[in-house]
């Protein structure tokens, strides 16, 4: 990661090429987490942009106490959580918007499946999507980080700045809710 540190120092001196290179090493993970968390391409792009702008603004204050990637990851989690709060505060999706979202979803690529399974898969994916929506932002984030991103509970506790016990509680509740929501299609 010392190569990251070299780029950070150059970027701080105004070298935008170094800044771009630094971001290109980590921005794929930012988009992946954002896309897994919101499950919507346009919202994921918004989160991506906000995270990287925060990285740009915060870079002069980065103190090398953690890996750069960990720092970016933490910012991504925070932006995701605050984004979810904003969305929950009262944006309602119209039918037209839902159509646009479906279009935007095409930018999220699923693993290739045969055409016979496409309809069933889309239906199941819709149920999974809805089940995830029933989780609170923190439950969903813990579930995403543990189940989809493979972080350990200890790492998640570090990212969310809470105790292992709290993470376990979120994970348990999230699993319970997911199980209850999806029980009919196992």
């Amino acid at each position: 990661m010392s190569a990251d540190n070299d780029l950070i120092l150059k970027a701080r001196d105004g070298d935008m090429t170094a800044f771009s290179e630094l971001l290109h090493r980590h921005d794929r993970n930012v988009l992946a987490l954002a896309a897994q968390y919101v499950d919507n391409a346009e919202e994921a792009k918004d989160i991506f942009q906000e995270v990287l702008i925060r990285v740009y603004k915060g870079l002069p204050r980065f103190q090398f106490r953690s890996e750069f990637g960990t720092w970016v990851h933490r910012i991504t989690v925070n932006v995701c959580l605050s984004h979810r709060r904003r969305v929950n505060k009262g944006i309602h999706v119209s039918l037209d918007q839902a159509g646009e979202e479906n279009h935007a979803m095409q930018q999220l690529q699923s693993k290739e499946q045969g055409p016979d399974h496409a309809a069933i898969d889309a239906d199941t994916a819709w149920h999974i999507h809805n089940a995830l929506q029933t989780l609170s932002p923190r439950q969903r984030m813990v579930f995403t980080l543990r189940h989809y991103q493979g972080h350990s509970l200890k790492e998640i506790a570090g990212i969310l700045r809470c105790t292992d016990g709290t993470v376990k509680r979120y994970l348990f509740t999230a699993t319970q809710k997911m199980r209850e929501q999806l029980e009919g299609i196992f």
Binding site: A35, D39, K57, Q107, L153, L171, T175
Partner: protein
Amino acid sequence: MARHKHYQRMLPLQLYGELSQGEKKELKEHLSGCNECQKELDKIKQLHGLLARHPMPEPSEEMLRESRMHFQSALLGERLRAPVWDRMKEFLSLPSVYRPAIGVTAAVLLAVGFLGGRLVPGARETQRYARLMPSEGLHVTNVRYIGGEGDDVELAFDSVTPVRLRGRINSPEVQKVLARAVMNSDNAGVRLRAVGSLSANPEARIEPETKAALLLVLKTDRNDGVRKEALQVLLRSTADREVRDGLLYVVLNDSNPGLRIAAINGLASMQTSGYQPDEETLRALRQSLANEDNMYVRVKARSIIDEEKVQ
């Protein structure tokens, strides 16, 4: 019941390998004699199976590229939106002859004693600006009534000093003003003349701030002429990643085929002059090949890709 809850909390952790050896042993012993918890474990396993069969979709390369481009535009805007204090320092650091040229719009307070001609006692700033008014001939707008007591009255207003700036095109002061004109003017004619003054002068050297403004304009200005002029200036500047990203953005997104042609030509020139396209550029060009209506752009994109293959 509470005992079941204790073990059921352990079930997800067991599946994620997050239990200690002691906890694993304890759970195993409980499960061997508890149908309820065993059933719960089976259901969670089924949930995991379902989720494994339907993994979360991953962002495509196209989505990543689009996200990067949108971020680049936002970043340029951010770089040009310097904090107020930075702008003030920048303003104060200019030679005094240039200071009025910034066209400062300042909200200043004016206190007027109508009867006694007195100023509000102790308001030094107020006095300073009040003296400016008759001597400097400020253009006053947006006058607000703040309050009054007795014969004193307090007003607020915005003042603008129109100033002419004369200097060489390569001077940082001139380029700063031009960059702000390009960025901030609502009038397309003003923006066009600002960019045009750079494109018309082949000796113009592009300062970083001006370059950032031009890249932002290239991607976001609604006026075709302004974007075209910005592209011409950028094509003369040093070939680097920012310029390449700007050109790719135009090739993939601009609605004007003439601009897309100029941009693809610019990318070809960069390649000829030794700036080889990387994998990201090649992916973007392949996307252009798939979506582009204009045959010239497609042919040129193909030629850049083929040229890279040869090398």
